[in-house]
């Protein structure tokens, strides 16, 4: 019995360790080209997401859920269904927001922060993150994931985001989760589930 428990503890330890044991990727070019090829093959993505926002000052985690649609080149619908109804659509450089039936519209270009966040989301979903001049990019791996760490080089972004971590599933090369670490110990974690790749999306999805 003692041996069983010892083995169980060893197994749990090894499993937990392998989850966090990221090492630098030795062959960056090969992994980079793999992610790049995957990005090129993507036309549409549909996915559920689960978001956790941790606020250190209040020691609280806000959880929300929703659905996500992306279509090349730059069409995005980000829809929260719990605990509130909130929709953000980016299409042809125009942002549309519906907040419990209250709608507003503005240009992405007029809003620097939104533009950058939008670029990051689109780049992360499509895997197109390695060749990004706005960030210092580092690549790691463990048995399960490729981890891309991005540090913003622009001051206005680094004030909001300290570092981004993107976890790509090794078998599919699709993004599994993103963590956005902020300078004040806050972070936003987004997990993607129920992904559908390259299935047609009606154009009505990208308008309110």
């Amino acid at each position: 019995m003692k041996t069983f428990f010892a083995l169980l503890i060893c197994f749990l330890y090894v499993t937990a360790y392998s989850q966090s044991d990221f090492r630098p990727v030795s062959d960056i070019e090969t992994v980079g080209s793999k992610l790049d090829n995957m990005a090129k093959s993507l036309n549409t993505i549909q996915s559920d997401f689960h978001q956790e926002k941790y606020m250190d000052f209040l020691d609280v985690t806000l959880e929300s859920k929703g659905k996500f649609w992306f279509q090349k080149e730059n069409s995005l619908r980000w829809q929260y269904t719990e605990p509130y109804n909130y929709i953000v659509i980016v299409n042809d450089g125009v942002v549309q927001i519906s907040d419990d039936g209250r709608n507003q519209e503005f240009q992405v270009k007029g809003n620097k922060i939104f533009e950058q966040v939008n670029n990051i989301i689109v780049a992360s979903m499509s895997g197109d993150v390695i060749d990004n001049d706005d960030f210092d990019v580092k690549l790691f791996e463990n048995d399960e994931y490729f981890l891309v760490k991005l540090k913003p080089l622009k001051k206005d972004i680094s004030k909001v985001i300290h570092e981004m971590e993107m976890y790509f599933d090794k078998s599919s090369l699709h993004i599994s989760k993103i963590i956005m670490n902020e300078p004040n110990n806050d972070y936003t974690l987004i997990r993607y589930t129920n992904r559908k790749i390259n299935e047609p999306i009606p154009s009505s999805v990208f308008s309110l």
Binding site: Q51, K53, M55, F57, L58, D59, V60, L62, S64, W78, Y80, P83, Y84, Y86, V88, I97, D99, D100, R102, Q104, I113, V117, K159, V160, M180, E182, N184, D186, T188
Partner: protein, 206 residues
């Protein structure tokens, strides 16, 4: 119709409109010590309240989630967008407020003053003020009290709950708060109106 009956009719209507409605003058009575009312938003130590909020100021619109935490001797308040971008963190107590973090785009003192003052009204226990006056009107009991910094407040209380607060310092500088309760201890929805900087915050409990 001849001219005289028309003038008579107009005179009658104007007289009716001007003099028929008797003004209901409130009779203010002094109450010692402070009024028998408590803060609209009551939180036990360590408890949090979360509200989905929409903030409009000078035609700009911010939406997100307000988190309010009772941290013993003070309240901690955070406002974060739905997508996780933080607007501000602040500490509020009865003496004032301190901004811990604020996004550059909204870091304006008049705006932060107004937000903090509005939140103080829902968190502060007005029962601590001595020398308030009260009057009754329909189902409401109206309490009025004066702050040391020149603000005068009226609390409209129905069934022991504050449903409206009006505060004014100068003629133009007014704050209104409306609270709806839905049979729970904490307000289900709150609306703040700050005329001075045209601010409106609408909060719905999560």
């Amino acid at each position: 119709m001849s001219r005289f009956p028309r003038q008579f009719l107009a005179f009658s209507i104007i007289s009716f409109l001007l003099f028929s409605c008797q003004t209901h003058k409130l009779i203010w009575e002094e109450e010692q010590p402070g009024p028998g009312i408590s803060a609209p938003l009551q939180l036990e130590k360590g408890d949090r309240a979360m509200y989905k909020a929409n903030l409009e100021v000078f035609r700009n619109n911010l939406s997100g989630v307000f988190v309010i935490l009772n941290a013993d001797s003070l309240y901690k308040v955070g406002f974060v967008s739905e997508m996780g971008v933080k607007f501000f963190d602040m500490k509020i107590d009865e003496d004032g407020y301190e901004v811990v973090y604020c996004m550059e785009a909204i870091n304006r003192k008049p705006l932060l003053n107004s937000i903090a003052r509005s939140l103080q009204y829902i968190l502060e226990d007005p029962g601590k003020h001595d020398g308030s006056f009260y009057a009754t009107k329909s189902n409401d009991t109206i309490y009025k009290l004066a702050d040391n910094d020149g603000w005068k407040r009226k609390y409209f209380v129905e069934s022991g709950r504050v449903k409206r607060i009006e505060a004014k310092k100068l003629i133009r500088n007014r704050v209104f708060l409306n609270a709806g309760y839905n049979n729970k201890n904490q307000p289900e929805n709150i609306i703040f109106l700050q005329r001075g900087i045209r601010m409106r915050i609408e909060m719905n409990k999560l």
